[in-house]
């Protein structure tokens, strides 16, 4: 007779590696683990939660709903990045001059910004954030925009309403009407299309036809923005930060709260892995223990366990989970506990119990009883090692189910409210109508990661199943 069937861990592993799907699964898993480690190491938990809550305008310098940077490759044109120029930060492109007016306590503050704009598309937004210091009277501010061609557009003066006032340039009605009347008069009473936004009028190459039809091309070149302000008071001062928001940001884009998606995507990995593995592991182990106890002791205990298993089949798992999450304040650990409690008398018990029942009759078990081995010893030394191996593939294959369960819960808005998970990103995206507004990346990225995780465990689990289950091997 030729080859002997090999047993043992090493042999199982060696055979596992002959399956390409298993190798693929392990590779993806390694990638996800690396991602998780990276996430936990670079952004500690508390910081991640704080960042994701996005309070105190943490993300104000990020564009809204920006595409990921790699989208440029598909779009075929250079998409604008965000440009931030702050008068408090010395650097190229910003200069500030303060000139006191002799004989008064007024000061003239001039801030110059130079914006070298070379992108193929318009910015998404432009905001100017002021930071003023004054006693009684706020500064009077005038804004001048100079386009590459040299033409200047002057905006009417306005006074700040608070020390930290902002000018939302792109949505301000005053700004828009100034621009429209400027171009209207410049091009001899042209009827400027009301489709054109302030951004397009500012950064676009204006032509008569373009203005009328509402289609302008981007004018590349050197833009100069000047802030002329009059400050009142000895100690008064004015600083300003201009943000020209791009259309792309980061490796994953941003959401409608300007949060960079990569934080949630990165942190979703350890959460998904930990939740899925823990849930699956604990459920499998507990089910195994319960099934073994039932099958071994038999009688009333077994009956009770059987009845419980039947009840569990009728228990509506997800509605229960939803009800509990909706009514009570819960975090991810409670969700985990509830999921496990709702699963322990599930279907896996039937097959494990059948297996234990058949092992119970083996001669060597009888022999152990005869030489006086205690029940515990028999169970742990003889029975459990025999039933463990067939359970491992099931354990691994069950992980995706739990991962999707958590994702589903977050998707419904019922998950841990603070933890950034993939399901939560999907929930945010769905609530903001991402599917209908074409923010596909917002949905695709967490979905792709969820799918990868599922594939990793599923491929591995299915291959393991074929290795451990000889009957399936021939098929």
């Amino acid at each position: 007779m030729s080859s002997r069937v090999e047993y043992g861990w090493r042999a199982t592993l060696r055979e596992l590696f002959t399956y390409k799907s298993a190798i693929l699964g392990i590779a993806i898993l390694a990638f996800l683990v690396a991602l998780s480690v990276y996430a936990v190491v670079t952004i500690p938990y508390d910081q991640a939660v704080k960042l994701w809550r996005g309070s105190e305008n943490v993300w104000i310098n990020n564009p809204r709903n920006a595409l990921p940077e790699w989208w440029e490759w598909f779009a075929g044109k250079k998409l604008p990045r965000t440009l931030v120029l702050d008068s408090r930060v010395t650097g190229f492109g910003v200069s500030k001059a303060v000139t006191p007016v002799v004989g008064t306590d007024m000061k003239l503050v001039t801030i110059n910004y130079i914006i070298d704009y070379n992108y193929d598309d318009f910015p998404s937004e432009v905001n100017i954030f002021f930071s003023a210091r004054y006693q009684k009277n706020p500064p009077l501010v005038k804004l001048v925009v100079q386009k590459p061609g040299g033409e200047e557009i002057e905006f009417p003066r306005f006074s700040l309403r608070a020390p930290n006032d902002s000018l939302y340039y792109s949505i301000s009605k005053d700004v828009l009407s100034t621009l429209v009347s400027y171009y209207a008069s410049k091009h001899g009473g042209v009827n400027v299309s009301d489709r054109l936004t302030s951004i397009e009028l500012t950064f676009g190459r204006a032509s008569r036809e373009g203005l009328e039809s509402g289609a302008l091309e981007v004018e590349k070149g050197m833009y100069r923005v000047r802030i002329d302000a009059v400050c009142f008071g000895e100690d008064s001062d004015l600083d300003a930060r201009i943000v020209v928001y791009g259309k792309v940001h980061g490796p994953a884009g941003t959401d409608n709260l300007r949060r960079p998606l990569e934080i949630a995507l990165l942190w979703g990995a350890p959460v998904a892995l930990a939740f899925g593995l823990t849930a699956s592991l604990l459920t499998t182990v507990l089910q195994m223990v319960i099934a073994t106890i039932g099958a071994w002791y038999g009688g009333v205990i077994d009956d009770i366990i059987q009845r419980l298993t039947e009840v569990y089949m009728i228990l509506p798992f997800l509605p229960f989970l939803i009800m509990i999450s909706a009514f009570y304040k819960i975090d991810i650990w409670v969700i985990l506990a509830v999921v496990i409690v709702l699963s322990i008398f599930g279907g896996g018990i039937k097959s494990t119990r059948a297996l234990v029942l058949s092992i119970k009759e083996y001669p060597y078990i009888e022999a152990a009883k005869v030489y006086g081995a205690s029940n515990a010893r028999i169970i742990f030394l003889y029975i459990i090692p025999k039933i463990l191996p067939p359970l491992v593939p099931g354990l691994i294959s069950a992980v995706p189910g739990f991962v999707f369960l958590e994702a589903a819960l977050s998707f419904l808005g019922l998950g841990d409210p603070f933890l950034p998970t993939w399901g939560k990103v999907l929930n945010d995206a769905f609530n903001a109508g991402a599917l209908y507004r074409g923010y596909f990346y917002w949905v695709l990225e967490p979905a792709a990661l969820l799918m990868l995780t599922a594939f990793a465990f599923a491929f591995l689990g299915f291959a393991l199943d074929r290795v451990v289950n000889p009957r399936l091997r021939e098929m």
């Binding site: 009840v311 009728i314 509506p316 009800m323 909706a326 009514f327 189910g401 599917l435």
Partner: protein, 359 residues
């Protein structure tokens, strides 16, 4: 072969099974009430509901219409407290819980806080039950379609096992660990956001077409994506499972004996491979049906399909407690009913059960 030899014993077995299942429903509903009321939620809405009812009654009653405000309030409060005593709502929790249990089991689920049913009723029972047929329509159709796809393709693959198609199916079976609603998201992305071919949500066009035929067609059009999502999800594993079943069953000795007997190949396939393998196929089919009820919630949310699942989601959004509790109760009943029906079908198909009770 499928003679309706339904013996008395078989009926008795089914009755016992029905009673057992009902008992499990009772346990499930009781658990629901206990858990829901741990934060006093059930008490809240039961009492609140009672108060509102009494208030409305008093207002409607011509006798009391003339009463000034504060007097009316006092009257309502008096009547309320009387009712509470009468209905036993002031008893200790254990007793109360059984009263709630009785109510829930008879589907007296109270009134919703915010939501309204399609017909304008505020009764939780109506809100949920009116939407039930839509869910049944969608999910039963998908399950039936899946059953036949898996059966036929599994049979085909078992005959050609080892072929390229077979190996692809085996390799891709892990794709079924991803639930249908997830594929649904992708499908919406492709067929609506990108291609603008199919509608992303709802059951029927808005405004709904007037005549029955175009209404039906419109519903069908809206059913395509959610059904496709669940077909894709269950496909590879489903076909793989039935194919494996058929393979195992076609290597049985009695199949070879049938061939030796000179029976034509078609007959062998139907009578000697298909029929004996129906019971285990039905079992896994049963499990998938039960599972699909759970998946309904998210699927209907994703596709905004007006069924049970969407009601759940809306109840979550509005935080409408009585509806959420009601949903759990109805789900318990649904699951029990499904299991029971499948039990009946199973016992009719597997003669070992049918005959075992005829002796």
């Amino acid at each position: 072969m499928c003679s309706a030899m339904v013996s008395k014993r078989l009926i008795r077995h089914l009755v016992i099974r029905g009673v057992t299942l009902y008992l499990t429903v009772v346990v499930a509903v009781y658990l629901t009430i206990i858990i829901a009321n741990m934060g006093g939620k059930v008490d809240e809405f039961v009492l609140g509901d009672l108060y509102t009812r009494i208030y409305e009654e008093v207002n409607r009653n011509p006798q009391y219409r003339a009463l000034p405000g504060p007097e009316k309030d006092k009257l309502v409060k008096q009547m309320f407290e009387l009712e509470v005593k009468r209905l036993g709502y002031d008893r200790p929790f254990i007793e109360r819980s059984f009263i709630y249990l009785r109510d829930a089991l008879t589907l007296d689920l109270g009134r919703a806080l915010f939501m309204l049913s399609d017909s304008g009723s505020r009764l939780v029972r109506n809100i949920i039950l009116e939407r039930l047929p839509n869910t049944v329509l969608l999910f039963t159709t998908v399950t039936v379609i899946n059953f036949f796809i898996h059966l036929l393709l599994g049979l085909y693959l078992s005959r050609h096992h080892g072929s390229l198609l077979d190996r692809i199916t085996v390799a891709l079976s892990p794709t079924s660990t991803i639930p249908g609603w997830f594929y649904g998201i992708f499908l919406i992305l492709i067929f609506y956001t990108w291609l603008h071919l199919l509608p992303p949500s709802g059951m029927v066009d808005v405004p709904p077409p007037p005549d029955p035929l175009s209404y039906a067609l419109s519903v069908l059009k809206h059913m395509i994506l959610p059904m496709l999502a669940w077909i894709i999800s269950g496909f590879f594993l489903g076909v793989y499972s039935t194919r494996t079943f058929f393979l195992i069953f076609s290597t049985e000795d009695y199949v070879e004996a049938a061939k030796a007997k000179g029976l034509p190949p078609r007959l062998i396939e139907t009578r000697y491979i298909l029929r004996p393998s129906l019971p285990p196929i039905l079992t896994s089919f049963a499990l998938s049906v039960v599972g699909s009820w759970g998946g309904a919630i998210i699927t209907e949310t994703v596709f905004q399909w007006p069924g049970l699942g969407l009601v759940t989601w809306q109840a979550i959004q509005y935080f409408d407690t009585p509806v959420l509790v009601g949903i759990t109760v109805i789900y318990a009943y649904l699951l029990a009913a499904t299991v029971f029906i499948l039990d009946i079908v199973y016992s009719l198909v597997d003669p070992r059960i049918k005959a075992g009770f005829a002796r």
